[in-house]
Each structure stands twice: as structure tokens, then as C-alpha cells.
């Protein structure tokens, strides 16, 4: 019988990249030494990967199964205040959440002598949008950098470079984005010699015209 290991609570945090530095290293060293945690780690990893690969389809299923008009979440808040708080959170989540943390190149490993790449914070677009975005925008990330933007669907759909911290989308691409499909985008910064210096998360978005 396996007893509960004190690291067990870290499994999810590790898989969801919520551990950093020493905490992350400690947990990694631990699962090299703890068969129970490693087993759970693999199981949980599989579950998370399946959920990630299913995406919003996982919860949209109910709609197709003959419950037209069902909203994705029908919060049942007990009070009006809770409803308001919930709404704020939903909005915050829509703005902040739909990112693929998992796809950010992982040269941000900490530790002795590890290369630490920077991250670029994206501004927009993210989440569900009423209309195709006119541009991609991110936080300025230093001077004398070239930014390369990638738009993905099942593959790279479009890519372009700029020295500014935003880039306009060609009309042709905007028309394509109106198809309602799920897209994601990412920006990378390169130093003058061509070395990669920083990368953003890959951010998801989807155009869903308001009805």
C-alpha cells in the first residue's frame, strides 16, 4: 500500500509549470527517487495531455448531444456579489488564460550555468474575439531586437518580422481568421547577430462573432 508522499501535492504544480527554481529541481530530483510519485506523475501527465488535446471540445460536447443553447458554464452563484465576482474572473480568465505554457521553448531552465531565455509578454489578441484582430501586439522587450511573429493553426499559417512591438495582419490573413477556427500565435525576439533572446507564450484565440 502506498502511503501519501509529501511531494504528491507538487505533481500538478510541476506539470502545469507552476514550480520554479529550487522547488522545481527538488521535485525533479524527488521523482528520480520516488516510484510512487513518478507513477502518479505519468498518469496525471497523460490526463492533462488528453484534456489539452481535446481543448474546448471537451465541454462543448453536451451542446451537440441535443442541448441547444446551453451555455458553456452556467454559474450558480448564491448571491449577486458572487455573480459579479464571477463575471470579473471570467473576463480575467478570457484575457489571461488561454495560453499554451507548455509550448514555450524550455531554455528557461534555472540552475548552475543554465541559459536563461527571456520571455515576452503578449498584449493581444487572446481568447475569444468578436472580429479578426487587425494586429498582434506585445510588450516592448529591449532595444535593437528583431521580432518574428508566428501564426499557427495546424501548422505555421503566417510569419513576419518587425522591429516594432506590434505588427499589422494582412487582409488575406484577417479573412482567414474569420473562419472561426482556433488559432494561436507567438513572438520571438532575436538579437542583431541572430541569436534567439526571448520568446512569448503561444497564445490562443478564436474569432466568434457576437450573435
Amino acid at each position: 500500500m502506498m502511503s501519501k508522499c509529501r511531494f504528491e501535492g507538487q505533481i500538478e504544480n510541476y506539470l502545469l509549470k507552476r514550480l520554479e527554481g529550487t522547488q522545481k529541481e527538488e521535485f525533479e530530483e524527488h521523482y528520480f527517487n520516488c516510484a510512487s510519485c513518478f507513477q502518479r506523475l505519468r498518469e496525471r501527465d497523460l490526463l492533462i495531455r488528453i484534456v489539452k488535446s481535446r481543448g474546448p471540445a471537451l465541454v462543448a460536447e453536451g451542446d451537440r448531444a441535443g442541448r441547444p443553447g446551453r451555455v458553456l458554464w452556467r454559474p450558480a452563484p448564491r448571491t449577486l456579489a458572487a455573480a459579479a465576482a464571477g463575471l470579473v474572473l471570467v473576463l480575467a480568465a478570457l484575457i489571461l488564460v488561454p495560453r499554451f505554457r507548455g509550448t514555450t521553448p524550455e531554455f528557461v531552465l534555472t540552475g548552475d550555468g543554465t541559459v536563461r531565455g527571456g520571455t515576452i509578454a503578449v498584449v493581444a489578441p487572446a481568447g475569444e474575439l468578436p472580429e479578426p484582430p487587425a494586429s498582434f501586439e506585445w510588450q516592448p522587450a529591449g532595444s535593437d531586437l528583431e521580432f518574428r511573429v508566428y501564426l499557427f493553426q495546424s501548422d505555421v499559417v503566417w510569419t513576419a518580422a518587425t522591429r516594432s512591438n506590434s505588427i499589422a495582419l494582412p487582409d488575406e490573413i484577417r479573412r482567414r481568421l474569420a473562419d472561426g477556427g482556433e488559432y494561436s500565435w507567438q513572438v520571438k525576439a532575436f538579437a542583431p547577430q541572430g541569436g534567439l533572446t526571448a520568446v512569448s507564450d503561444r497564445v490562443r484565440f478564436q474569432v466568434k462573432p457576437a450573435r
Binding site: Q39, I50, V59, F107, D112
Partner: protein, 187 residues
């Protein structure tokens, strides 16, 4: 417990640590990087050489010894790779059907089992793992108590464990199937 090199069965050690080293390397490289398998082999070969040279003195566990070698190799690889990253092929974006296919039939079975869950269990999985909200955030979003959210997540985990043990996913040994309590899903 003191262990010496000659007490270690190297084949057994490699068989035991290959999945662990593989997990660690894939985690560091990202799932789309095909180099992981070569690096895992290099790490294990290096471990064997070091053990044969008497570098494993039993001051740490063998797990920590291998972890240290693996971590160093990963750092070296990454340092080399970042110099060429600009020209490296783009990793495919998630969700990646190919990746799921690689997880094999068992993963498909598990995916189907997840699909069959009642919506409230799926919602929790979606918010918790896809959107990566905290338990508290999921609770607020669904108008539940955090405790209730934990119950649903735990239910999902138990179901998963039960399935995995039935299917013998990872050649689990000596663990008995966990009973999935039929509570909330039957309300």
C-alpha cells in the same frame, strides 16, 4: 543503505530509470523535439560509464546520481541548441493530434472515458487543466466551494487510476485497483 557499483545490476538500473530519464528529457525539450531519445541513450550510457569508473560512491541515492547527470546533459544540450534555434523547425502547436496518437491506444481509451464523464466533471477538468485555473478560481467560476471542486478533481483522478490499472498502462506492479466512489456522478 550503502551500495557499491558491483552490487548494482546495470541492466535492471537502465530498465528502471529509462522512463524516468525519458520523462525528464521530454519535459525539458518539449514534446515535438525528436532528439530526446538520443539524449536519453547518451545519459544512460554516461551513467553506466561513470558507475563502472567507480564515480558512484553511494553518497547520494542512485536516483539523485542519475538525476544530476541527466540535468547536466539537458543543460548542455539546451545551451548548444539555443545558438541554432532560429533555424530549427517550428514545433507543432497544441492541441496536437499527432502527439495524442503517439500516446497510443490506451490514451484513446482514456480519452473516450473522459468524454463519457458527466458535464460537471468535464468542466472541472477543462477549467483546471486546459485553462489552468486554480481550484479557487474554478470554484468561483462554477459557483461551487473549493472543496466541491477538489472532490470532482479527485473523482476524475480516481477514475483515471482505475482505468490505468485495468489497462496496465505502465506495467504497474503490486498496486490494487482503486475503487471509484460513485457519489457525485450519480446524483
Amino acid at each position: 543503505m550503502k551500495r557499491k557499483q558491483d552490487e548494482l545490476d546495470l541492466d535492471e538500473m537502465v530498465a528502471r530509470y529509462r522512463p524516468i530519464v525519458g520523462f525528464r528529457v521530454k519535459r525539458a525539450f518539449g514534446p515535438a523535439n525528436p532528439d530526446w531519445e538520443d539524449i536519453v541513450n547518451e545519459i544512460l550510457a554516461d551513467v553506466i560509464v561513470k558507475i563502472r569508473n567507480g564515480e558512484f560512491e553511494g553518497r547520494s541515492t542512485i536516483g539523485t546520481f542519475i538525476y544530476t547527470i541527466a540535468s547536466r546533459r539537458i543543460v548542455d544540450y539546451i545551451r548548444l541548441k539555443t545558438k541554432h534555434l532560429r533555424y530549427a523547425p517550428e514545433p507543432p502547436p497544441l492541441p496536437d493530434p499527432q502527439e495524442l496518437a503517439e500516446l497510443g491506444e490506451n490514451a484513446e481509451r482514456l480519452a473516450r472515458a473522459i468524454d463519457k464523464l458527466k458535464p460537471r466533471f468535464k468542466e472541472v477538468l477543462y477549467l483546471y487543466y486546459f485553462q489552468e485555473l486554480s481550484r479557487e478560481e474554478v470554484a468561483r467560476r462554477l459557483g461551487l466551494t473549493p472543496r466541491r471542486v477538489s472532490e470532482r478533481v479527485n473523482y476524475d483522478h480516481k477514475l483515471l487510476r482505475k482505468l490505468l490499472q485495468q489497462e496496465d498502462f505502465f506495467q504497474l506492479s503490486g498496486s490494487r485497483p482503486t475503487k471509484v466512489r460513485k457519489t457525485e456522478n450519480d446524483e
